[in-house]
Amino acid sequence: MHFEYNIEGGDFSKAGFASSQLKKVLKQLITDHKVVKRTVVALYEAEVNVVAHAYLGVVIIDIDTDKIKIQINDKGPGIEDISKAMEEGFSTASEKVREMGFGAGMGLSNIKNNSDDFKITSEVGVGTKLEIIAYLKTI
């Protein structure tokens, strides 16, 4: 199965739309609710990061019999020092983002913890790409 969703930077009211859709699909397919939760939490954090830190993005989801692959690609400022951004507590979130309940600097490490495979690449001034994989035992 293949799904694609757009994300608009700055628009918090729609942040979580893709994760919500994915959760509805996964609940029908997967009985292990821990896998569902881990995967949608990872995507939700990634969606919020696009809304909070980038200009626009796209979520590409491929569900296979053995794995769920999610790519989140954005156009935005990019990340200069990825290892620093991955540290718990590091955040450049604006006041507006903090008022929305984000900006703890926990998102990227939480995405990593909630995925079986996690890749992040970024180019300053261009954008950031995330790949999240959850392996499935049976589907």
Binding site: A15, G16, V41, Y44, G101, F102
Partner: protein, 114 residues
Amino acid sequence: MNIKEVVDIIGGKLICGESMINTEIERGFASDLMSDVLTLDSDNVLLITGLANLQAIRTAEMSDISCIVFARNKKITKEMMELAKENNIILIECASSVFKTAGKLYKAGIKPVF
């Protein structure tokens, strides 16, 4: 402890989730930071927060949190209610501070997540 007892103990007002009043709650967590909430891996968690916006509801949806108490007299909007209903999330308003609300529930036997 079920939701009805929670509402009584904190002197709260059940805004949404009438039909789920018998839902059992085991643990509680209090935070205004949604990324902290999203790191929890326990189930049957009740969230106490002063953050009244759509992202609090979305966070509960993703984290399988069944009940949110909005403390500090924060008001639940129509959009929040709609999203909560769609996802079977119970919403409670409460005039007390987060500290007082959490204290009452802790004393009554709700366990901390950690």
